[in-house]
């Protein structure tokens, strides 16, 4: 696996550093990680500004620019390629914006028309010149990262893959631009109109971003191809956006997600003996799906769990309230509380799994027990219920005093508010309420001692 022209010393150092990897594998992985991080960080701004599809379009349409640069210069030099791609990348932006403005074509259709046409043109140009070069239509789609380590140049005494130099430099440029223009980028990403009023040119920011995306696409092109770069641009940013609400944290997270996707994708590709770029794109998508399902802040499952936990708490408090009212009625009549039949409890809570879980939980925690064919609150349950009832009745008193609501309109809002009143709010309400009974004449339980 030793490349034809390598330096044994450095390669073996690499081999040690990379835990038994060959130097080739290490270089490939390093290139993949750098490429993924570069795309991921830039992509955050595409995701935030809802320009992902423009990124998609640009990564498709740089192809004719590359082909033209090749045909003109007859070489695969980085500078002409970069220039060609930048021109066509910006052209994509101009053309699609122009089509939707002057041709009155809808935005998504104009993107579709422009990038598919340019891409088709690029494929044909490459097919035309493919006779005598190693640019073939397949590699423009999924890149040739496997061959990246064999084309090296010497930098500071180290034989570095040529593609990696471009990718590294571009990453440095993007990071520098992001650091320098962080404030401007942040404002344009979150509040474009505010940015305009503050004198930040929307057009400069827009086309600047387009330029960076086009350049990133070009340097990544050789390694991962044009279509897979879309996944690497969008996935890390979209995943990071689900994990945090702060921009700088999002950028770090995106870089981490991108690097992880690169490592995982590379590993999977080795294990399955298949396309590295393809697996990195797949891993990026998988990371996004994981984030979408599991991210603590905005993931689907945590949100579901939070919502369910809230519903469960409300069901439990409602059930306790019901039991407390029965106890109260019993006290007034001088009898025991009338047990609440299981079926009646289910009906009152709306039935289903949630109600069953609420009942089961109360019994398990000793807040309620089965006695005389139904549920009855234990003394622990009663003291817990007192807090809920207290919130409820204090809120009713407050509403009755401050809003001209009829007496039969007090229960519903109080029933909703009782679950959300903080202890401080209840304290403040009780200070405003001199009387010890609610508007219906029921007594307001005192604050439980020990709290």
């Amino acid at each position: 696996m030793t490349p034809p022209h390598s330096q044994p010393g450095i390669d073996s150092a690499w081999a040690v550093l990379s835990l038994g990897f060959g130097a080739t594998e290490a270089w490939t992985l390093a290139t993949a990680v750098l490429c993924a991080v570069g795309c991921g960080v830039v992509g955050c701004f595409l995701v935030l500004r809802r320009l992902s599809l423009l990124g998609d379009a640009i990564s498709h349409s740089v192809l004719p620019g590359l082909a033209a640069a090749f045909i003109i210069t007859q070489s695969r030099g980085t500078i002409p390629m970069l220039a060609g791609a930048l021109v066509v990348g910006l052209l994509t932006g101009f053309l699609s914006a122009g089509l939707s403005r002057w041709g009155r074509v809808s935005e998504d259709s104009s993107l579709g028309v422009v990038f598919s046409s340019l891409f088709a043109l690029g494929v044909l140009m490459i097919t035309w010149v493919a006779r005598d070069v190693d640019l073939d239509p397949g590699c423009v789609l999924y890149g040739l990262i496997e061959f990246v380590p064999f084309d090296r140049i010497g930098i500071a005494g180290l034989e570095v893959p040529r593609a990696m130099v471009g990718i590294g430099v571009m990453l440095l440029v993007s990071v520098t631009l992001i650091v320098v223009f962080f404030k401007e980028l942040r404002i344009t990403a979150f509040d474009p109109s505010l940015a305009t009023t503050m004198g930040i040119s929307a057009a400069v920011m827009h086309y600047g971003l387009m330029g960076v995306v086009a350049a990133t696409t070009v340097v990544s092109f050789e390694a991962v191809g044009s279509i897979l770069v879309v996944a690497m641009l969008v996935a890390p940013g979209a995943a990071a956006q689900l994990m945090t609400d702060r921009l700088h944290r999002m950028l770090w997270l995106a870089a981490g997600v991108a690097a992880l996707a690169a490592v995982l994708g590379y590993g999977a590709a080795l294990a399955l003996n298949t396309s590295i770029a393809g697996m990195i794109a797949t891993a990026s998508l998988a990371m996004y799906v994981l984030a979408a399902l599991l991210a603590p802040a905005h993931g689907w499952l945590p949100r579901l769990v939070r919502r369910y936990a809230l519903s469960l708490r409300i069901a439990r408090e409602d059930l306790l309230g019901l039991l407390y009212r029965r106890y109260e009625k019993g006290q007034a009549a001088g009898t025991e509380a009338e047990p609440l039949a299981e079926a009646a409890a289910m009906r009152a809570l709306g039935g289903g799994m949630l109600s069953r879980l609420a009942t089961w939980g109360l019994r398990r925690e000793g807040l309620a027990e089965v006695r005389g064919g139904g549920l009855v609150a234990t003394s622990a349950g009663l003291s817990r219920a007192r807090g809920v009832i207290r919130s409820h009745r204090l809120w009713e008193s407050y509403l009755a005093r401050n809003l001209p609501l009829p007496a039969d309109h007090l229960h519903e809002p109080a029933h909703r508010a009782e679950h959300f009143l903080t202890p401080e709010a209840v304290e403040a309400l009780s200070e405003m309420t001199p009387e010890s009974v609610d508007p219906h004449g029921k007594s307001i339980p005192p604050a439980s001692r020990g709290e």
Partner: protein, 444 residues
Amino acid sequence: MDQLIRLLTLQDANTRTVLLGTTILGGASGVVGVFAVLRKRSLVADAVAHASLPGVCLAYMVVGDRSFAAFMLGALVMGLIAGGFIAFVRAATRTKEDAAIGLAVGGFFGLGIALSRIIQSTPGGTKAGLDGFIFGKAASMVSTDAALIGVVAAVVLLGCVLLFKEFRVVCFDREFASGQGWPTLLIDMLLMMLVCVCTVAGLPAVGVVLMVSLIVIPAAAARFWTERLTPMVLLAGVIGGTCGLLGTALSATLPAPQSGLSRGWPTGPVITLVGTAVFVVSLLAAPERGVVAAWVRRSRLRRRIARQNLLRAVYEHLERGGDFARAWTPAALEPGAVRGLPAARRAGLVRASGAQLVLTTEGRAAAARVVRAHRLWELFLITGASLATDRVDRDADEIEHHLSPELLAQLEARLAAEGRLPAGVPRSPHEQTAGPAGAGVVDS
């Protein structure tokens, strides 16, 4: 050329079926594309197309042979999964639709590339012909494949015809449709399903990467020619069919580059570029919405405005002497007004008289009309809108070129009712000074 003609005149049975298949396919894509474009779902179609590659690969892995029907089924399933993914992300997360589409395009395509590489490294894997699915290779299609494509496309067409009313109402006013009790979600899903089927059917001919062009371009091109849905659908169908037919024929007959790996032109890009050509022609030449028509309209208006500004400047210059047949020089006018001079001379409103210029009879009448419109509007602004006298000149300047004869008649009627309608050309309600562009005549 001979070969192209031979192809298009359908002399070979296999070619005949292939061309017929791609033509029907193009027509169906164009028709279903109209709804996708109007519903702003055209790039979802792109994601669905890209996602069908892993579907094809998985189908090959399961069946273990090149079975066209299995490929289509696999692609359809994966396409629907991608569509479902986008819908889920849109509905259940904070990620926006654009990012979801980008993710689906890149991620699923990456999976497809990885799977196809695995297949190609297995013995006999290269025979799967998966490469042809990326850019399309109509040349490698056999007539049974083409027949299947034709049948699927025909089914899509039939679906569009049957659901025409439903699609129309969802495309134009989804909220209204829901309010009226249409099952909009179901209709949306059916539409995406048809797009998906059509995309999948197009894979062997056009390829995953460029299938979106066959959906979007005919619809976008047809949109330039008409404002009505039915003609648009028909036109898009015809354009799509033409793209399919011409693109396939061209890619098969153009002199092929002799590359080692891929012999011949890939069909997809050629079909796309035929579509692009139709689109560009539509963009430029369409009578109402075309760029050329719009440019002609705008420049005609500009010329009219310049001519009218000139006439008014001349009129106001001559007014002081009271003799409108008097000769004048352009130097006496404000520089801005002189711009309309060539157009006015061409229209026979101004002619040379020695070194100087005079208004012709028509020119005098036209100038009087222009000035009358300007001053009537000024009068209206002063009396009707209570604007200060020194403000009206500027406002009238902007509107005088756009006053229709009907509006002028109404204006006259209104001023007459108030007893303020002057006979002939009214006197200017304000001082004639070096005013804004077009109005100014320097006091001498």
